[in-house]
């Protein structure tokens, strides 16, 4: 790609590096590292991921509460050393559930985004490489799916199949795959006309090799950016659905359903410590993801850089 454009003020090391013709990813990472907001986002995000992954040992060692363990003598307790963020309406420790909730919210986001990318890449590649009738049919299907607004369709699926993590992921994938499909298809349409692809075809390279070796790697950068920003959207969607009671079901905690405590007017008005922390966790995570996504876009597409 055009990633090898020289920076305006080449330093010694940069000149040296460009002589060695390092990989695109090397330069992308270097540009990314210079973006303070993106790096901060990545650090915060890594911390959040680590804390949620190790939720079980962390909470066991420090607070000693289990995920669904409740204390009947401490219902809606105010924050104390015993319960740093208080307890919920059944006496469960909120901080503990906050960490476990992150596990659920982030897993849903990761699984859905990965599936969307895989499905999107397959459909987009088929449509973009073969074109013609196949492309036409697939893109009309994409048009139809993208005309289904996410929340109403997710609510419908939940009404039919019941609220659960699995059905939530299913709803997100069902409405989510057209985005990356369109993107990959667009990349294919422009890349397959390039001279180097033409050259590969002239040398007799099979379709498989052209797709996987010559086109897909070049379609990856925009896909990675859109996947990253897609994670932000999915975390917000999961939270909204679970908050409304149509997503992750208690006792399994998620950042969204922890916020449903705020449906109680007394909790909402008098006990902000119960519902503000999960909201802030969602905010912090999504903000970090957005910073990382933005940084990735700048790093991977130097043409956009001012």
């Amino acid at each position: 790609m055009e990633a090898l454009k020289k920076p305006s003020v080449p330093t010694e090391t940069e000149q040296e590096a460009s002589q060695k013709a390092r990989s695109f990813w090397y330069y992308a990472w270097r540009r990314f590292r210079r973006n303070k907001l993106a790096v901060t986002g990545l650090v915060v995000l890594t911390l959040i991921v680590l804390v949620t992954i190790f939720a079980a040992p962390l909470t066991k060692l420090t607070l000693g509460w289990g995920r669904d363990e409740f204390e009947l003598t401490a219902i809606r307790a105010i924050p104390s050393a015993r319960h740093p963020l208080g307890t919920d309406s059944v006496g469960r420790d909120i901080l503990t559930r906050l960490l476990y909730g992150g596990q659920v919210s982030l897993t849903i986001a990761a699984v859905s985004v990965l599936s969307n990318m895989v499905i999107g890449t397959i459909i987009g590649s088929i449509a973009g490489y073969f074109g013609g009738l196949v492309d036409n049919l697939l893109m009309r299907l994409v048009d139809i799916i993208t005309s289904l607004p996410f929340l109403p369709i997710a609510l419908t699926l939940v009404a039919i199949f019941g609220p659960s993590v699995r059905n939530l992921i299913f709803a997100i994938i069902l409405t989510g795959w057209p985005g990356p499909s369109r993107l990959v298809r667009g990349e294919f349409l422009s890349l397959r006309e390039r001279d180097y692809v033409e050259a590969a075809r002239a040398t007799g390279a099979p379709a498989r090799r052209i797709i996987f070796r010559h086109i897909l790697p070049n379609a990856m950068p925009p896909l990675i950016v859109s996947a990253t920003l897609g994670i932000a959207g999915i975390i917000l969607a999961e939270a909204a659905l679970s908050y409304l009671g149509f997503g992750v079901k208690v006792p399994t905690p998620s950042w969204g359903n922890l916020l449903s405590e705020a449906n109680n007017i007394i909790v909402l008005t008098k006990m902000p410590w119960m519902w503000v922390p999960p909201g802030l966790m969602i905010f912090l995570t999504v903000l970090s993801v957005n910073f990382v996504g933005d940084g990735l876009r700048d790093a991977m597409d130097p043409r956009l850089k001012r």
Partner: protein, 316 residues
């Protein structure tokens, strides 16, 4: 031009048919049927079968679908399973309320976003620009229902400036000021996301336009900076923004689903959630089609507006 719009209108039809087939299939995938559900276990099977036959539910699915389309285009949208109310009359009550909420949010959002974006772009990397950028990032990263909860907590319960929910004060005769008083909080919070998103788009688009040669030409001719910005740059930078306005419709109405539930605003979003809770499928089918129609109309508006504002684009 007229032909272009007409052709785009015709293109909507296959998409809407596709959407309705998909929705129909999904809803028909429901285990059990509404009549056994409504009648309960005591009613014998023959009676239920008779009721189903009367409603045409014993026919094969494709035929049921065709019947549904026939009835729908004649304006017969069926009855709510739960309340027995005619769906058409429900829509008549609910759609205006949703439009009031979303359109106010839209006007507030875009009305604030465009000036913010222009100011950011004319003073890039200044304190104003950084502040606007920070707020925009926060705006798109906050879960909207959380923002709404904080706003209710703060403005409705702590400061008591506005009522926390409902569209009008219960038990009082309708008056416009009362409704505006109820409208202001949900509309502003719903508009926040639009402010964040559109101030970014406006900024990017303005920055892009300011780099064009004709801006340099205008400046070198000695045209005043104010005129360069507002006459030359701003008008041209609006072109991509206008397109995005159409695409923001689904987002706004999707947001309405959450906001109407949170603020108990009696619109289409709340109706959808009620239909889901009651497993009221005839109603759900209609509300979903309503949202899908909005998306399709939003896309159409985006395309048509694009052609109108940009004479360089040929609508062939």
């Amino acid at each position: 031009m007229r032909q272009y719009i007409l052709r785009r209108l015709l293109q909507m039809i296959p998409i809407l048919i596709g959407v309705s087939i998909l929705m129909f299939a999904v809803i028909k995938a429901t285990p059990g049927d509404p009549f056994s559900y409504l009648a309960g276990p005591r009613v014998n099977k023959a009676t239920i079968d008779r009721m189903k036959a009367a409603a045409g539910l014993d026919k094969p699915l494709p035929l049921q679908y065709v019947n549904w389309v026939k009835q729908t285009v004649q304006g017969n949208l069926g009855y709510s399973l739960r309340t027995g109310e005619e769906v058409t009359s429900l829509l008549k009550k609910r759609i205006p309320n949703t439009l009031i909420l979303t359109m106010t949010a839209f006007v507030i959002g875009v009305g604030l976003a465009i000036p913010i974006g222009v100011i950011s772009a004319t003073r890039p990397y200044s304190l104003v620009d950084y502040t606007a950028t920070t707020f925009a990032f926060m705006g798109i990263s906050l879960p909207s229902f959380f923002t709404a909860l904080v706003a209710i907590f703060f403005f409705a319960y702590t400061l008591r400036w506005v009522p926390p929910n409902q569209m009008t004060t219960p038990g009082e005769a309708f008056n416009i000021w009362d409704m505006l008083h109820h409208l202001i909080l949900p509309a502003i919070v719903l508009g926040l996301r639009e402010i964040a998103a559109f101030s970014r788009y406006t900024r990017a688009s303005m920055m892009e336009t300011m780099r064009q040669d004709y801006i340099r030409t205008a400046r070198s001719k000695g045209v005043g900076e104010r005129i360069v910005i507002y006459k030359h740059a701003f008008r041209n930078s609006l072109i991509p923004i206008v397109t995005l306005l159409g695409f923001s419709l689904p987002d706004l109405f999707g947001g309405a689903v959450i906001f109407e539930t949170l603020f108990t605003w009696p619109g289409m979003g709340q109706l959808t959630v009620e239909a889901v809770n009651n497993r009221d499928f005839p109603l759900l089918m209609v509300t979903n089609m309503f949202f899908a129609l909005l998306v399709v109309v939003g896309n159409l508006m985006a395309d048509v507006l694009y052609v109108i504002v940009d004479p360089r684009i040929r609508y062939s």
